[in-house]
């Protein structure tokens, strides 16, 4: 059915609808999870602080985001490690 609809109307095109769709996708993730970008930033800072106690991380390559799969939202963190610490720095 959806393929049929896609053929009917949804030919991939460079039009502005793709921008709309992508923006909506991001906005709805936050709306549905009820979490603001500021809150996500705070969360990110704390995650970095905790993990930094145990390992040296590359905070430039760090990514923390909410992703939407079916009807669920997942918190996905990609944290590149430079090296492990031998002694906890607490």
């Amino acid at each position: 059915m959806l393929d049929f609809l896609a053929r009917l109307l949804g030919r991939e095109s460079p039009g502005s609808k793709n921008i709309a769709k992508e923006r909506l996708r991001l906005v709805l993730i936050h709306d549905r999870a009820d979490i603001s970008p500021q809150l996500l930033q705070l969360l990110k800072n704390e995650i970095v602080a905790v993990i930094s106690k145990y390992m040296e991380i590359d905070d430039k390559g760090l990514e923390v985001s909410l992703e939407h799969v079916d009807k669920q939202v997942a918190l996905v963190a990609n944290i590149p490690i430079r090296k492990m610490k031998r002694v906890a720095n607490i």
Binding site: L8, R11, K17, N18, L28, D70
Partner: protein, 266 residues
């Protein structure tokens, strides 16, 4: 077996009232007994869309205050025999005049006598919305293929499911501009399905005939010559349980393109 359906959208101006009027008239044309409730107290419009604005004596708030009986406030649309009734609301009061319990109670009474009770919900998600959805067991979410309307529709779906316990609302995409979809400047049905994850009840192409019909106070569904009229007829048949395929929107456009070429207008 009667159904109580609320027509909602979150965002204003996407066509809730037009959809309510046309679904009601369409179901009445198929022989169902239908009552439409205008729950947009203070900003009522179902009366003008149906051309019944001069026939209102009592309204929903009079019923609630016990100034009249429910039957006295209901207006029969004579164009549809004994099939279509409308229960107007007050224009000079505000949303606080109608509570969730009031509408639950009135819907409960009406469903004894009608096949379909359809509620025209106000925009927003505040008190008026909450009252309007309280008596309903099903919902139709009307949206347009635009970011603001889709975002609000998604919010409303979340609230319907979590607070009003209305599962699986159905989607109507109103005022779809086929030529914009074809050149990639408007989201497709598939895009909308991807984003909202709702079952599609129907698509109403943007059609000037809707404005003309509203000017005259007659629902466009009556006129089978119009694209919007046919789209509403399909929606109504789906509501009564038939599996009706989506109308072929592209061939319509193709026809017009061919016509334009024939008459050399491009």
């Amino acid at each position: 077996m009667s159904e109580v359906i609320v027509v909602t959208s979150g965002k204003g101006g996407v066509g809730k009232t037009t959809v309510t009027a046309n679904i009601g008239a369409g179901l009445a044309m198929l022989g169902h007994k239908v009552v439409l409730i205008d729950a947009d107290t203070g900003l009522r419009n179902l009366d003008v869309v149906l051309g019944m604005e001069n026939r209102i004596v009592f309204d929903l708030t009079d019923v609630i205050e016990g100034k009249c009986r429910l039957r006295q406030a209901m207006i029969k649309d004579r164009r549809f025999g004994e099939s279509l009734f409308m229960l107007p609301t007050a224009q000079t009061k505000d949303k606080s005049a109608v509570t969730e319990d009031d509408l639950r109670n009135i819907c409960g009474q009406l469903r004894e006598h009608f096949d379909y009770v359809i509620i025209d919900c106000p925009a927003g998600i505040e008190q008026g919305f909450q009252s309007a959805v309280a008596g309903a067991e099903k919902a139709i979410v009307v949206t347009a293929a635009e970011v603001a309307a889709v975002r609000d529709a998604d919010r409303v779906v979340g609230i319907l499911e979590s607070k009003a316990d209305i599962r699986d609302p159905k989607l109507i995409i109103n005022r779809l501009r086929i030529e914009m979809v074809q050149r990639g400047d408007m989201m497709t049905l598939e895009d909308m399905h991807d984003i909202l994850g709702l079952e599609l009840l129907g698509v109403i192409p943007d059609d000037e005939a809707v404005v003309v019909a509203t000017n005259r106070g007659e629902p466009v569904v009556v006129n089978e010559q119009t694209v919007a009229g046919r789209a509403f007829r399909d929606i109504v048949r789906r509501i009564q349980g038939e599996a009706v395929p989506l109308m072929n929107l592209e061939s319509r456009e193709g026809f017009f393109n061919r016509l334009r070429k024939i008459i050399g207008f491009r």
